[in-house]
């Protein structure tokens, strides 16, 4: 769920120029950053090699596909992986 504070990091060559969003997102900011593949952006469990105590983390979204415009507006997001509707009776999630 969006409220889980987890991070999974894949080992990637720091010089990677891979900008293919559908496979692996490598966000390159000052040659650092957290990357998530499509399969791992939902995986639970922290990677203790990169995460620090007393720090909160939210996984980076990886683009997969998008809703058509009218449907995106209706749902409130362009991205299926971010669509998390309210189910009454399940307070807080």
């Amino acid at each position: 769920m969006y409220s889980n504070l987890i991070l999974v990091v894949k080992n990637l060559d720091n010089n990677s120029q891979n900008l293919m969003c559908k496979n692996i997102i490598y966000y390159n900011y000052h040659k650092g950053g957290f990357e998530m593949s499509e399969e791992t952006q939902r995986m639970p469990g922290p990677d203790r090699n990169r995460m620090r105590l007393a720090h909160a983390y939210v996984p980076f979204q990886t683009f997969t596909n998008s809703y058509p415009p009218e449907e995106a507006l209706r749902r409130g997001t362009l991205f299926p992986e971010l669509y998390m509707p309210y189910r009454p009776g399940r307070r807080g999630n």
Binding site: K22, I25, F60, T77, L78
Partner: protein
């Protein structure tokens, strides 16, 4: 004085709203993923379509921006309905 004969084209306006929303989402995504080419392409295609729809609306129906360069008299920016007065379900 406001005129009540603003020509509302609701289906076209809803289309514009949908494309505007896609833009909101692509901008937010690109702000944190500036290298993502897939979303950049989606953004550009959508923005192109958005501007063409807005241009069609402003030329034929009503003003959506107050800086439209081909405005004529009387000044139509003030025309009703304003967005909070529109019945979207009609």
């Amino acid at each position: 004085m406001a005129r009540k004969d603003y020509r509302l084209n609701l289906p076209l306006l809803m289309d514009i709203m949908a494309h505007n929303f896609v833009n909101v989402e692509t901008v937010l995504y690109l702000n944190t993923h500036p290298d993502c080419q897939d979303v950049l392409d989606l953004h550009n295609r959508n923005a192109e379509r958005y501007h063409r729809l807005v241009d069609e609306y402003q030329r034929n129906y009503g003003l959506l921006y107050s800086n439209y360069p081909d405005a004529d008299s009387p000044w139509r920016w003030i025309d009703e309905p304003w967005p909070w007065e529109i019945n979207y379900r009609s």
